[in-house]
Point group: D3
Chain length 295, copies 6
Amino acid sequence: MPVQDLTPTPDAAARNGAVESSVAEDEAWVWAQIKAEARRDAESEPALASYLYSTIISHSSLSRSLSFHLGNKLCSSTLLSTLLYDLFLHTLSSSDLLSSTVADLRAARERDPACTSYSHCLLNYKGFLSIQAHRVAHNLWTQNRKPLALALQSRIADVFAVDIHPGAKIGKGVLLDHATGVVIGETAVVGNNVSILHHVTLGGTGKVGGDRHPKIGDGVLLGAGATVLGNIKVGAGAKVGAGSLVLIDVPPWTTAVGNPAKLVGGKEQPKVHEDVPGESMDHTSFISLWSDYVI
Amino acid sequence: MPVQDLTPTPDAAARNGAVESSVAEDEAWVWAQIKAEARRDAESEPALASYLYSTIISHSSLSRSLSFHLGNKLCSSTLLSTLLYDLFLHTLSSSDLLSSTVADLRAARERDPACTSYSHCLLNYKGFLSIQAHRVAHNLWTQNRKPLALALQSRIADVFAVDIHPGAKIGKGVLLDHATGVVIGETAVVGNNVSILHHVTLGGTGKVGGDRHPKIGDGVLLGAGATVLGNIKVGAGAKVGAGSLVLIDVPPWTTAVGNPAKLVGGKEQPKVHEDVPGESMDHTSFISLWSDYVI
Amino acid sequence: MPVQDLTPTPDAAARNGAVESSVAEDEAWVWAQIKAEARRDAESEPALASYLYSTIISHSSLSRSLSFHLGNKLCSSTLLSTLLYDLFLHTLSSSDLLSSTVADLRAARERDPACTSYSHCLLNYKGFLSIQAHRVAHNLWTQNRKPLALALQSRIADVFAVDIHPGAKIGKGVLLDHATGVVIGETAVVGNNVSILHHVTLGGTGKVGGDRHPKIGDGVLLGAGATVLGNIKVGAGAKVGAGSLVLIDVPPWTTAVGNPAKLVGGKEQPKVHEDVPGESMDHTSFISLWSDYVI
Amino acid sequence: MPVQDLTPTPDAAARNGAVESSVAEDEAWVWAQIKAEARRDAESEPALASYLYSTIISHSSLSRSLSFHLGNKLCSSTLLSTLLYDLFLHTLSSSDLLSSTVADLRAARERDPACTSYSHCLLNYKGFLSIQAHRVAHNLWTQNRKPLALALQSRIADVFAVDIHPGAKIGKGVLLDHATGVVIGETAVVGNNVSILHHVTLGGTGKVGGDRHPKIGDGVLLGAGATVLGNIKVGAGAKVGAGSLVLIDVPPWTTAVGNPAKLVGGKEQPKVHEDVPGESMDHTSFISLWSDYVI
Amino acid sequence: MPVQDLTPTPDAAARNGAVESSVAEDEAWVWAQIKAEARRDAESEPALASYLYSTIISHSSLSRSLSFHLGNKLCSSTLLSTLLYDLFLHTLSSSDLLSSTVADLRAARERDPACTSYSHCLLNYKGFLSIQAHRVAHNLWTQNRKPLALALQSRIADVFAVDIHPGAKIGKGVLLDHATGVVIGETAVVGNNVSILHHVTLGGTGKVGGDRHPKIGDGVLLGAGATVLGNIKVGAGAKVGAGSLVLIDVPPWTTAVGNPAKLVGGKEQPKVHEDVPGESMDHTSFISLWSDYVI
Amino acid sequence: MPVQDLTPTPDAAARNGAVESSVAEDEAWVWAQIKAEARRDAESEPALASYLYSTIISHSSLSRSLSFHLGNKLCSSTLLSTLLYDLFLHTLSSSDLLSSTVADLRAARERDPACTSYSHCLLNYKGFLSIQAHRVAHNLWTQNRKPLALALQSRIADVFAVDIHPGAKIGKGVLLDHATGVVIGETAVVGNNVSILHHVTLGGTGKVGGDRHPKIGDGVLLGAGATVLGNIKVGAGAKVGAGSLVLIDVPPWTTAVGNPAKLVGGKEQPKVHEDVPGESMDHTSFISLWSDYVI
């Protein structure tokens, strides 16, 4: 398979146009990329060819490939792969979920410098795979098929160590980077184009039910190990530093850091940034010198 | 299966009476609930019925169901499910362990608003399942069957990402919520009615053996990501905030937060609360405003 | 199998001599220990004997045993154990990797008081197993067999919840204790005799590629949940406290703690310690009293 | 599930009418029977309920149930159940194959006194399952997808010990009773309403290709261990005794027995019977006394 | 394990005495032999030690070992090994079934010169394993648990290519040698000390139910490929030659051979032998010269 | 992959020359064919590509491919594929066994008109696979590793329904066509270029050990269901008809048929043929008309 089979990425302008075209075209373009990447890799690495054919090349669509892959990853001796495959295929083929899947693939490809191909994300990113499986669980939840939704949540938690309650609402273009240890509660909402690092918690507090989990705005970046608790808002474009504990609303386009978290610039006039942290993935620019505090 | 098969929960007074009756009656009541829930779910969700029959409905007792479920979850190509099933069934049928299992099921059902049925906990809660498997490992450890106890610890760590040394002593009515990333060391002791969130560490320090891990009193709440190190005491009814690092004894009924942790109210006269945090699950009431510190 | 089959550990002086002898001799000594331990355990615990024979006793060398064990742990329905076994055996038999494996076994045995035998580490330590599998992935990466290296990384992340990019360089004698949740990025470098607790992140920042991850010097200790971000240096012999967030170079032989981290003793004249923290595993001596800060 | 859920079998006249109705109605009737039988059995035998739900009750159609069951029976570590399920479902849903499946179910139910329910045949009859899987292989063969057809033949031969070349043409209403050891060659043709006992061979002779296997007429009965070799005809309604070797055409409505076979009644005026042996299943009426030959 | 651990077989007289003692003693003696053999083999063949420990040495009784082995052999993705293990253990521990198991082990050990140890039979003889599993199926059948009995028959037919209807009654001390292709119908009865070679059929005829299969007397030998059809009697001590077709009663202590079968010596005064063919296993002494018939 | 990648078969003369060259060259030629066939099939049938890559294309030699395939086919939950792969690879790589494997592949390709490619035989022919696995078992037997040899025999008997005692000696260029039900005893010897159809038995008689099984000369053809019992000789070039029972020596180049078998042409002057029946595969030319015998 010659390298030129790999269609060059259309430039930004062209792709912006594509975004406006139908989901089907967008999905077709990404799926063609993925198949070409997989063929190239199968050619160069015979030891992996069987895996690439079974997971990607033999399938006729992205939703079939993804359903097959998730079915095999999430099955157990008591939840057979054929059952899960059927369930995933039925759900993931819908136009709405497919556009979310494509947006998530693009998010990983564009924001994570370690993600050098779409197929790499599709096959190997446990964060990506967890979100796709969660979308199926969420779909079941909204149809009141709760026991099956919870069984699926449990399998995702066992296999990927990512625990997303099926009631949680997750936007499009979301990146769960590394993903291990992420916990997202039942009434949490995550906007579009959000990036969430590993060990992040969007948790509740207390033993009372109801709306009790955080709402994360569009374009937010939540650093590794950030813990956000309670029915609070993290405003659009905000950034939460690694290891921070956030218990109070974070204003849009500001940065909260520390345990307990403080707003960079102070609570009265917090510093406002202009880039979209969920896309720039800048974790660290708020600090560059050791402080004077002595410990 | 009509819904009325679900025996209504006895009111609190009645159940207090039940607590005094034998473990067998208590177990029988919970097991009847679980079977009724599973039958109802199997009826409403055929895709899950096979799973519910194999894990719950076909079994004659809670300990058989749990042993079957754990055997299938924790088996590997070199530790067969039949061996584990036999081992679990032998141990988990004892009256003492059975009463702990029932208390843990109640803890999840009462403290976690996302836990809407006993069967949901039994089937899907990796924290609950990790503790039950740990009790078997601990039982082996106390009989000096250490290699088998350690092999079991390893399987729990692989499958659930929960690492509890078989030497650790865990009380009854303990909730491991979400559970991913919990680490509990060899000489740690956890009291009754404790609630522990995910990513909590009860660790040692240094490379010397002996008694080197924390002792957690009854009714304590340890927030997500809390790290407690060394042979220290966290007193009964104390609370440790999410992400806190605790290296010094925490007095009973007080709250320690931050990294490194500080006592809420100050070290001289720390604020004392009255509710039992391990049961109220209140993680956040100690803070409600951004502080004045500028970063 | 009489207990005297267990060759007594040579004293320090003798072993120093052994270090200078060939890797083959060193490997032979450790492998003989492991087989003797496994035979003793199989004799005392028939329920575990099958497992011990298949994983250890039936094999003719440490690299065969390890390859078999990793192949069975990391295989999936689409990446068969036979393929992985072949791959691991080919790579792990090299003299260089074998000496690293032996040094890692010694690191666990000497630094972790819960590690009471070499075979316990070989069979049960997910940190040890993750590093060995990573060495194979790294070897593939340096041969430009990137898709296979990334597939292997993905399996390690799924099975052990340890996410080490195959590009990362890891020294010898490294201990990943508990290991769940460890994340190490593509351009990270970890020196010799480093000890890393669970939930530690050596991460990048931003969405630009290139050299963007931490460099950890020899003998460093990184406490549980420590997050180190960016292309910074943690100097030889430094210590990072549990839960700390480090975004700036840490001088050699100093201690950084807190979120964000501060240098113990102050940034001007940080306190310098003399022991090697990666070997002493002292996590906590920098603090012994509650501070006066009121929260 | 009360027994009256089991729709009574329509009487013969009614069913004759049903035969003329569409395949869909016929399939619907049989499928309703199968589900009712499975529900009754699940109710009476909890240990089997999980199996019955996963193979029958949870499915929405006969072709889905059959595809799931065959996929799980015929899969291997290198031919995954999801792939086979997809393949079977695609093929077995066609109206033509579905009518053959239904006719085969009826054949077993009506001719084999040991077959006391349709679900028993669907789940347990390796002859029935082999023919259904063969129909898929034959379908692939006629589309010139020969390697996949041959791989499927191989799995049927391994799992059921039934070896039917995908080129062979098999009619409707065929019963393979017991089935172990049946061999049917590439150019064999089997008519409708044929009954074939175990160990029967429809083989070729010589090493030359081309049309070289037997043609079996409608309503034929081939007794256990009968060996029919070469491009010969066994006429409609003929019977071949158990253990017979047939190398010459058998006239319609006659009986051939022995090794080598002879025509009952003599080759000049062979005895002609009137019942349809493929349906009456009478193996033995041609002989009732020990002959006078001395051995 | 020194060879002298293998208790010498008691001489015939002694063993006759043992036969009169309790089943428990007899079982204990055979089980001790099996464990000693397995230990000796594990010592001499490390590659097999894991298998021998898991199937034999780690178990505390013959019925546990056999239940474990059958559970693993007969399980499928929809009938889990844990379910089968439980079922087998419950049934095979009964004193009556245990004495049958022991008698079958002795039959193989004494009559088959290729069977050089009891453990060889227990582990490897598909005929022995099929009969033991059939006894469980028959037990279920007599308790009217027919669907489970039939599911078990189906698994035995798939895995061992031995098809015994659960209604069939099989005596003690029965040897199924090689076993592939054996078919035994619902109303067949097989006496004690019978030996049956592979491909033997005890079949019915016609499509009418009721008592329709052969009755085989004590001590009978049925040669390879013998086909016995209909509700006929094969008298005690009779012998049926390989490949024979028998449709008429065979008198006791006579020999029937050929297709169709003839009585050796003629039907009027058939030759009577004195040895017990089911024990002597003499297949061929009735013929020693080519006959004069020209073909 | 263009079709021209398939090297044209050298004509007979050229290949005769090749036979004289080294085994290595011969194996290389066949292996190149197999890989080219597999690549062509993978290209034309994506659903099979994963299977073809994992079993053939990803391997560097015929013995690796075969060892992988057999390991996956013959493994069980207690005999892992990695163990078997290692064992097979070690044995099947020897020059002697490799030349036998190649001769067996050629035998199937040249004699069986249904065998249209070498890869078809390698992947799908249970007779071919049984013989290759038997060669490994026989090799173990001759090294006195009898328990492992017998365990392997048992797996072959379970998986392929082919029961060859590891003591039996099998020549080169042997075809087991269809193979189900073949039984070959401990002291049997099979010459070179023999063809054996399914259900053939080379059995012993009596319960005494020692040399008790048939010796089959070079070039013999044994028809389907032929039963040959006792320590007798079937001379070179002889033919045994389907379903025949042979208890007496068969002279070279003659044909024995019937039950009990008679020599074609009579015992005094049996008819002698000139072709090699093991290669011509002519099963039936001895009979072309119904005989006059009345039954």
